[in-house]
């Protein structure tokens, strides 16, 4: 008899799209049947949520946009898809032309190997897919030095964005004097537009925990912290469940797996401060203080949390470790480029047709990620740029899309690899507006300790506001550039040092767009409110009054069946009239 497993994607995005009623329906219908039903984490095809995967003897078919009614149809048809269901297939091992096959097959899943496959709340499922094998191997067959050497040889570099070689960092902590030693997992994923770490924590918490235990063994730490932002309640819940299950199996605690190695992990919840993603600020926050960064050196490896040697890596970095130990450094290093090994997880969003979570080998050109995996630009528009690395990163223009994804190449464009946010911008996105958006964010999140960041980002924001209000002068552009360089040079921590990147890259690649705002008082992308006007084409207008009714400020007047007019002085540029007009009579000038 065929072995059938049904998996429902129930990470935050899935739940938000209505996975819960679909799951409940399936649970009821499958009661007493020889079918395993599972709640799993993110499958990565976010734009099709809710997703249901049917696995028959290892052959997978993924259905998107599922509803309880479709779920019923699925069960009633004994999992052989009816016409209605056939249209919902997004991926299939058997049907070659399924729309997302190419997308799935282009990816290499190391970090996300179990995401969307196992029930993250059941340790046995993780174990059946190889979890904790690496830990057993490390404890029984390898010395701490050998573990460090293996990680070093794999070429793994910090996935938080800076790209420091992980093995080297571990070596420094191992060699540092002082007891006890600590390790920290940075799960304070604060970049707006990034959800890689959340997905890993929600979908496969054990790979992160196992990576941390192996690291602790290697550097000689007895205590670990996971610093997770409080905005991720589901991730925290699943981590707690996973930690308890790991303790019961003696993967954590005293004399782990019969060795003399003792280690346990505690979760520390953040309280909403972006700067706490910076390692020294994060450690201050763990100590219960204001999360303010301090100058380095000393580096955490020498003097970290509570003044003791501390190794700190982010979620994705730890999640790579078990794979490396199990499959060996050489196998890991087969993926990627000379200096950037392995894979990188990206959260693909913005004006891309099919956003989602993807894991690709290093070295893949950005273009392939956006077009082959993300399906190109939504609504057939033209791509303008891709924003990588969030508020610390920069805009890479469309003509540099063949840049391969590796630390050095991305840095050369002026952006940074960052933690994995990839926001696609099309011709309707204004780069001045995007730069202003990020500056507004970093300016608010600046902790205020050093003047370059505190005052510099504020002054930069003011200049950007002037420009987007149509009140800028040409000198402002030079002033903005100069100030950006100084803030980059003079700031104490990563937040301030990278805050000017969005401005610097947009100035570098899209200077003419800035100039249009200043010289012509015009926003070419038609975004900046002060520089645009909504007008009704009296020839096209049929006088249906819809726009007048939806306008929140009563700026539109006109009689039924007669052309309407917009009072520009009242208009707040919310754009609702344009969206609601049935005959496209409203345009932006």
């Amino acid at each position: 008899m065929a072995k059938i497993a049904v998996r429902v994607g129930m990470a935050s995005c899935g739940l938000a799209s209505g996975a819960e009623p679909v799951y409940k329906e399936l649970k009821e219908l499958l009661e007493g049947k020889e079918v395993t039903l599972k709640q799993v984490g993110c499958i990565g095809l976010c734009s099709y949520e809710p997703l249901v995967e049917v696995d028959i003897d290892g052959k997978r078919t993924i259905y998107g946009d599922m509803t309880p009614a479709l779920a019923q149809e699925l069960v009633n048809s004994s999992f052989s898809p009816t016409q209605a269901l056939r249209e919902k297939i997004v991926y299939s091992d058997e049907i070659k032309e399924a729309p997302e096959n190419r997308r799935m097959n282009k990816q290499v899943r190391i970090v996300l190997a179990n995401c969307g496959i196992i029930d993250p709340e059941k340790i046995d499922e993780a174990i059946s897919r190889g979890a904790y094998e690496a830990l057993t191997k490390a404890l029984k067959a390898m010395s701490p030095e050998e573990v460090i050497d293996e990680v070093y040889r794999s070429g793994l570099r910090g996935r938080g964005g800076a790209g420091f070689p992980t093995g080297l960092k571990w070596k420094f902590t191992r060699q540092a004097k002082g007891e006890p030693k600590y390790i920290i997992c940075n799960a304070d994923e604060g970049d707006p537009g990034a959800f890689m770490d959340r997905s890993v924590l929600e979908g496969d918490p054990h790979t992160v925990i196992e990576g941390m235990i192996i690291c602790a063994y290697a550097v000689g730490a007895s205590h670990g912290y996971i610093y997770c932002r409080a905005e991720y309640p589901l991730a925290i819940k699943r981590l707690n469940i996973a930690l308890n299950q790991a303790r019961q199996r003696n993967f954590l605690g005293n004399n782990i797996l019969g060795s003399s190695f003792n280690f346990d992990i505690e979760i520390k919840e953040g309280a909403g401060a972006f700067v706490c993603g910076e390692e020294t600020a994060l450690m201050a926050s763990i100590e219960g203080k204001r999360g303010m960064p301090r100058p380095r050196p000393p580096f955490p490896a020498e003097s970290g949390v509570w003044g003791k040697p501390t190794n700190i890596n982010n979620v994705e970095t730890y999640a790579n470790v078990p794979w490396i130990i199990r499959h060996g450094a050489d196998n890991f290093a087969r993926y990627g480029t000379e200096k950037s090994k392995g894979t990188k997880v990206f959260a693909l969003a913005g004006k891309v047709a099919k956003g989602g979570l993807v894991e690709v080998p290093m070295g893949m050109p950005i273009r392939e990620v956006i077009f082959d995996i993300g399906g190109g630009i939504a609504e057939g528009k033209k791509i303008k740029a891709v924003q990588m690395g969030g508020p610390s990163g920069g805009c890479i223009p469309s003509w540099l899309l063949d840049t391969p994804i590796d630390y050095e190449s991305i840095t050369a464009t002026g952006a940074i690899m960052g933690s994995g946010g990839m926001i696609v911008l099309d011709e309707t996105s204004c780069v001045v507006d995007v730069a202003k958006f990020f500056l507004n964010f970093t300016q608010r999140e600046s902790c205020g300790k050093c003047p370059f960041c505190r005052i510099g980002t504020k002054r930069m924001l003011e200049i950007l506001e002037r420009i987007s209000d149509g009140k800028g002068k040409m000198e402002d552009l030079d002033l903005l550039y100069e100030l950006a360089l100084q803030v980059k040079e003079g700031s104490l921590c990563g937040l301030g040092q990278t805050a000017p990147n969005p401005v610097l890259t947009t100035l570098k690649y899209f200077r003419e767009e800035y100039e249009a705002h200043v010289k012509d008082r015009c926003c070419p992308a038609k975004v900046c409110p002060s520089l645009i006007h909504y007008v009704i084409d009296s020839e096209k207008c049929i006088g249906c009054t819809r726009c007048a009714r939806i306008c929140p400020v009563g700026a539109i007047t006109g009689k039924v069946k007669e052309p309407h007019k917009i009072d520009d002085s009242k208009c707040v540029r919310c754009g609702q009239c344009k969206q609601t007009c049935p005959v496209s009579a409203i345009s932006v000038e």
Binding site: A16, F195, K268, A273, E287, L425, F437, G575
Partner: protein
Amino acid sequence: MLSVEQDDEQAVREIIEMFKGKKGITIQLLSKIQNTFGYLPQEVISKVSKELDIPEATLYGVATFYAMFRFKPLGKYTIKLCRGTACHVQGSLLIAQEVMRYLGVSEGETTDDGLFTLELVACLGCCSLAPVMMVEDDVYGRLTPDKAVKVLESYRKAERGE
């Protein structure tokens, strides 16, 4: 949730016992107070400060640093409107402006009837559903200004028993 007027001596006592003699607990302590009372009441802070021998300045220093802490009670429903990058490029600013107009409040404020508190947050991590807002634990995605207001109207209606 308790109000300060009620007999909450006991609750404060329990919080103090829970954290006595522990180090590095400021953030958890404040979270615990906030979870108990819904916000950080001045009288509770000053009592805890004395009993645990942590200067009030330290507690306020930490409380004002992190976005999560507040000094006023919340409305019945907290709206978290996402202003992350993906939501921004899909027009979340217009939604925020429309919601503010509809509710008559600015960021961080509570409506006069105590029904809604509006928070603008950095990222809810549901970028593929952008633009997104949460009302309590419910996520509403692919919003337009009009849709967002309709969502809030539905809460108002439910409240009036319609």
